[in-house]
């Protein structure tokens, strides 16, 4: 039987999809029974979704223009 520690490792390292189908079902079964692991998985998904919304730095509007000028020199 797969342990909570194994499940969390598989989820965080994104190695789940490369596992055998039997292992993937084992994870699903575990997830259906273990509330801590499903909470953990949900938090990872929320982290991914929230990370997509974080503010990234934008350069000034003439950045590309200046860059091309410098590259031409």
């Amino acid at each position: 039987m797969i342990s909570c520690k194994d499940v969390s490792t598989l989820l965080m390292s994104e190695r789940l999809h490369s596992q055998k189908w039997s292992k993937r079902w084992e994870v699903r079964l575990h997830m259906a029974m273990c509330r801590h692991c499903s909470r953990f998985a949900r938090q990872l998904r929320q982290l991914s979704a929230a990370a997509k919304g974080i503010r990234v730095d934008h350069p000034d509007s003439d950045f590309e223009e200046r860059l091309l000028d410098r590259l031409k020199k």
């Binding site: 390292s13 699903r28 998985a41 860059l67 031409k72």
Partner: protein, 231 residues
């Protein structure tokens, strides 16, 4: 025989997606969502040819399309705006110098990010890819008992994730991540690259990328949990 196993495999995937859709629905999560996204298509040969001829319109197109993402990638690693601008310029200088050796099998942005990270490492004088061991692993280890069951289960962070400051909190936590983990996290979550492409960009094995993603996520989650509990 081969066809049969192929058929079975597709059938398996179909059942898994039906299960995820119907049984798991939205509540816990869908395993399929964790599958790798597909790679974007490689560069078109005609466009590559124009670049090799040093066509200035083609170069301008490349700069317009990718320079901002490279700038964001550099600042995400902790470089100042001025340093990031210089880095992006360096990337395009190398790009023009090595254009002839680019075979066009991968996407242009993948290649440009590869150059960016090599240059960033040179600037920071980082020689090793990362440490062999990471403290975060023992922190995580301590959350489980000897049989691998949660002894310190994850705290409820529902309200924290729904709060408006979650973006700022993640940015703050990202600053404490080691260089290579920040790179991998940015490529995966912000740029949306799949693990195969991240391997190409950073010239690392799939296993190594898995370890870095694992450490980055573990660290961020622990950091958010500590902030959530303080709140």
């Amino acid at each position: 025989m081969r066809n049969k196993s192929h058929f079975l495999q597709n059938w398996q995937l179909f059942l898994e997606s039906v299960y995820d859709r119907c049984v798991l629905s939205d509540k816990p999560f869908r395993l399929r969502e964790l599958a790798d996204p597909t790679s974007p298509p490689p560069i078109e040969p005609a466009f590559l040819e124009r670049l090799r001829r040093r066509d200035s319109a083609a170069l301008a197109e490349v700069v317009q399309e990718h320079a901002r993402a490279l700038f964001a990638g550099a600042t995400a690693l902790g470089f100042s705006r001025d340093q990031a601008e210089d880095l992006v310029q360096d990337v395009f200088v190398v790009f023009l110098q090595r254009m002839d050796s680019f075979e066009g099998r991968s996407q242009l942005r993948t290649w440009l990010f590869g150059i960016l990270y090599r240059k960033a490492k040179e600037k920071r004088r980082i020689t090793a890819v990362d440490d062999q061991t990471d403290l975060i692993e023992s922190v995580l280890e301590s959350r489980f008992d000897a049989r691998g069951r949660w002894s310190h289960p994850p705290a409820d962070l529902e309200r924290l994730f729904l709060s408006k400051e979650i973006g700022t909190l993640i940015s703050g936590c990202l600053e404490h991540l080691p260089f290579s983990q920040r790179q991998v996290f940015h490529l995966r979550e912000i740029e949306g690259y799949n693990t195969t492409d991240i391997c190409k960009i950073l010239d690392l094995s799939v296993t190594h990328i898995g370890v870095l993603l694992y450490r980055a996520r573990a660290r961020l989650r622990e950091c958010l949990e500590s902030k959530g509990l303080v709140k």
